[in-house]
């Protein structure tokens, strides 16, 4: 049991509510009263997360944007657990942006569960405590004699019991508790179970949930056209043919990110100047967009894929100067080594390709903006819009809608700013929609990367030295203090960066999404050169980091890695994979969670077929068990698909792949037939799972494919290294 002292933390305040309810808001910057959604039925709002209805039903507010990671189910599960209600009596609503009430409303970095864990438990526990106090007062008994279960308070001695809905009306004048007691995890009834995703029924029935689906009265459809190449901007527009299309309202140019404004990262945008078409319906506007005749001018030279590769190769070749981290003397160790292995790994730009393209609703009236749509960071959207448009933040509201995928793409708010500027210009509410082509050629890509590993092995087959130098567009992928730092006497790591006019952004597990696969492929090759089993070899390194770590700042816990490997070893029966099965292993730590994977490949008609993936996860306490498994399965498919097929190439700044006819995504029947996920049960506070399951995948895949085909894979997309000359659609 954990005691949380509320008054000391000073974040709960009581606010009177018209209608006799009570708001216990979590105030971080001040006091904003909340209004219950349905005043008639809500009898108590102990805080911004909880609404108790007179019939005992509970509405829980979900503060974090839902992008497919299952947070709209998981966060309310935690609140419901501490409030001690039955999950069957809970309904969930998405909260709008309200940073005064909610600590963190961002879907990014797999941090929501980790950073909100104590906050939302406390919210639930505070609500429960207030209801118990009301019952204690009503029955004139000490609160310590009361128990709760599934939304009912009981007093065993007197035999009294009362439902939350009934006592809630009498709790409105109860003081916010000074201290609450959180449950002992062994008493959890909801956390660790597998309720369905709270929107699943609406999804399978095709209910309007997404930004693309919202149709508000009087809304004008808007589309943008950005330059056909990075480094260009519009020079002149001939819109006569576009305007001739029925239903077209207007054609104009906007500058969304003026040059004199230095925006934050979330304002990242390669194309500040855009041509806009507005009209009555989507199809008209799409047609008008095609009918535009635009002349473009070059601002900075267009780049080519080959030049990126050459420049990156130059950066990581040669002697490493001023490493980001150095332990021992790697150069001296390489000279002494019996064997030295040096390998280069690379990967191309990747688009996010959320199935729902970028879109946003904005209605600017005077100095107010009403926003609605899919975003991972509503607050950042508000910040950058306020900055660019000079509208006070408090005048900007953001209604958060379920997003048809995020993967980092919706951390960037440019499309929201665009919608607002268009709305201001035409003086009407606007729904801005990107076509797939707009979306895929806009940039914000996962950077292209290149990394060189070098290992020295002594005569006794011990790894005595390892260096890694990496680079990528707008930043290198190397995390110098992560494993294998700490496990090798002589170690050095260094990041370089390539400047480019192609914009890059966070893409599911930034940097890790590439470096994990490269590192785990390399270690596999080193293990082989040492004549060691790849599992034993990794274990040896973790043992070393545990018992006799090198250096001080090692950004991982070797004990957790060891437990993780032991779990997967046992579950997949390592070493007994059976005839015809070729296995690859990989393990990585990022976003505070630990993941190990084994992929089983079989050769069929001399082609590799993925049979099964095993995954061991240490993300501490698991909140929503089946939801967590779903994330792992998605991460594995994502990792396989992008490592095998994902490829953005460019020529003079023009992106070669503009839609799914030229860009191959993983499809049915191409991933493993089965995925089996196991969780380390260690009771540690939970960490996130939206990203961590993806990064190790390319490593496990490459290692399995090597055993199946005899070919080591170094450069993504792997399909081109496996003998295909081009990426054909699946």
């Amino acid at each position: 049991m954990t005691k949380i002292n509320l008054s000391r933390r000073g974040f709960i305040k009581v606010t009177g509510l018209a209608g006799g309810g009570l708001v216990l808001g979590f105030h971080w910057t001040g006091c904003t009263p909340v209004r219950p959604a349905e005043a008639a039925k809500v009898v108590l709002e102990p805080n911004a997360y909880i609404k108790i209805l007179s019939d005992g039903m509970v509405t829980l507010m979900s503060p974090v944007p839902e992008i497919g990671q299952g947070i709209k189910t998981a966060i309310p599960m935690i609140v419901a657990e501490e409030l001690d209600v039955s999950w069957d009596n809970v309904s969930v609503e998405q909260a709008p942006l309200a940073p005064d009430l909610y600590k963190r409303q961002s879907a990014g970095g797999s941090q929501a569960i980790r950073q909100l864990w104590t906050t939302v438990r406390t919210a639930g526990a505070a609500g429960r405590r207030m209801l118990m106090e009301a019952a204690a007062r009503e029955w004139k008994v000490p609160i310590a004699e009361l128990t709760t279960s599934e939304g009912v308070i009981s007093h065993e001695k007197s035999g009294n019991s009362i439902g939350y809905g009934d006592i809630a009306t009498k709790a409105s004048d109860i003081e916010v508790p000074e201290e609450v007691t959180l449950k002992d995890p062994k008493d959890f009834k909801i956390i660790g179970t597998s309720p369905k995703n709270v929107d699943v029924n609406d999804i399978v029935e095709g209910k309007p949930l997404f930004g693309m689906d919202m149709k508000k009265e009087g809304t004008v459809i808007a589309m943008i056209t950005h330059p056909p190449a990075f480094g260009m901007k519009p020079k002149s527009v001939d819109d006569s043919a576009a305007r001739a299309i029925p239903g077209i309202k207007d054609v104009f140019t906007i500058t969304t990110f003026p040059e004199d404004i230095e925006t934050r990262w979330s304002g990242n945008n390669a194309f500040p100047e855009l041509v806009v078409v507005t009209g009555e319906s989507t199809w008209n506007v799409m047609k008008a967009k095609k009918a535009l005749k635009i002349e473009w001018e070059t601002v900075t030279p267009g780049e080519n894929t080959e030049d990126h590769i050459t420049e990156m190769e130059n950066q990581i070749s040669g002697k490493m100067t001023k490493p980001d981290r150095i332990d021992g003397d790697p150069e001296a160790a390489f000279k002494k080594a019996a064997k030295v292995i040096e390998r280069t790994y690379s990967a191309p730009f990747l688009p996010h390709n959320t199935m729902e393209p970028m879109n946003f609703y904005a209605n600017v009236t005077g100095d107010k903006i009403e926003f609605e749509g899919p975003t991972q960071t509503p607050q950042r959207l508000r910040d950058i819009t306020a900055q660019i448009m000079g509208i006070p933040e408090e005048n900007i509201t953001v209604n958060i809608l379920r997003a048809g995928g995020g993967f980092g793409r919706r951390l960037y708010g440019h499309y929201g700013v665009e919608a607002a500027m268009i709305s201001k210009k035409i003086n009407a509410p606007v729904q801005l929609i990107y076509t797939r082509e707009d979306d895929m050629t806009q940039g914000t890509y996962r950077p292209d990367y290149r990394v060189r590993y070098k290992a020295g092995i002594d005569a006794d087959n011990n790894l005595i030295a390892l260096t890694v130098s990496g680079t990528g567009t707008n930043g290198g992928p190397v995390a110098s203090n992560r494993f294998p730092a700490g496990a090798i006497d002589n170690y050095a790591a260094k990041n370089y960066r390539l400047k480019s006019n192609i914009s890059t952004g966070a893409w599911r597990a930034p940097r890790s999404n590439f470096i994990a696969g490269a590192e785990q492929s390399f270690l596999d090759e080193v293990a082989e050169a040492c004549g060691k089993d790849p599992m034993d070899f990794r274990m040896e390194l973790f043992e070393r980091a545990k018992n006799n770590p090198v250096g001080e700042k090692n950004d991982y816990d070797p004990d957790r890695f060891i437990a993780l490997l032991n779990l997967i070893k046992e579950k997949c029966d390592w070493g007994n994979e059976g005839e015809g099965i070729h296995r690859g292993i990989s393990a990585y730590y990022c976003h505070n969670s630990y993941i190990a994977q084994v992929i089983d490949v079989e050769m069929k008609d001399s082609k590799p077929v993925l049979k099964k993936a095993w995954c061991a996860v240490d993300c501490g306490i698991v909140i929503s068990l089946d939801g967590a498994k779903n994330q792992v399965e998605g991460g594995i498919m994502d990792g396989i698909g992008h490592a095998m097929y994902g490829n953005i190439t460019f020529n003079e700044g023009v992106i070669d792949q503009q839609n799914f006819d030229k860009y191959r995504l993983i499809r049915h029947g191409e991933g493993p037939e089965t995925i089996e996920t196991h969780f380390v049960d260690n009771g540690i506070d939970p960490t996130g799972l939206g990203e961590p399951a993806m990064p190790p995948v390319p490593g496990a895949l490459a290692n399995a494919l090597y055993r199946a085909t005899g070919k080591r894979l170094y450069h993504q997309p792997y399909i081109l290294e496996l003998g295909e000359t081009e990426i054909k659609l699946g």
Partner: protein, 156 residues
């Protein structure tokens, strides 16, 4: 602009739209059924799949005016048209992640089961190959299709 008649989920609609409007945008912008999704617009992802006379069809490239009195079933009308077991199986396996592709996935599965009530694994993969799930829920989609078959499949 032209007048186009459509029969969607058993109801007749008369819409005023552009002559070349694809069924997808006729449904979303004119009929007012937004369960059918746009993602690629070029018949490469399956998000926009509807049933036209029982056949899974990419509505983003299907001219609305070519349909005449064909029976169009969208995700909104699937439950009343024999697809309830599929939707229930989707829920049972808690299949969606973001959910955006799932209407198209379910409709494609319905089209498959209408023409082939007992498909093999390979037949499922082939029939579903046109439907991308960016979230990678493929294992669950397949499991859901098999569950639906066990529970009675699609009643045509």
């Amino acid at each position: 602009m032209t007048s186009i008649s459509l029969k969607v989920n058993g109801k007749a609609y008369e819409i005023e739209a552009e002559d070349d409007i694809p069924l997808l945008w006729a449904l979303r912008d004119h009929v007012g059924l937004v369960g059918t999704k746009y993602s690629c617009g070029i018949a490469q992802c399956g998000s926009c799949t509807v049933l036209v006379n029982g056949v899974a069809t990419r509505s983003c490239v299907m001219p609305a005016k070519s349909l005449g009195d064909a029976e169009i079933i969208t995700i909104e009308g699937l439950a009343e048209n024999g697809g309830k077991s599929l939707q229930e199986a989707w829920v049972e396996h808690d299949t969606p992640q973001c959910g955006y592709c799932q209407a198209g996935q379910i409709i494609s599965a319905a089209g498959l089961l209408k023409s082939n009530p007992n498909p093999t694994d390979d037949e499922i993969d082939t029939a579903m190959k046109g439907n991308v799930c960016r979230c990678g829920s493929y294992v669950r989609i397949k499991a859901a299709i098999k569950t639906a078959i066990k529970k009675g499949g699609v009643i045509a």
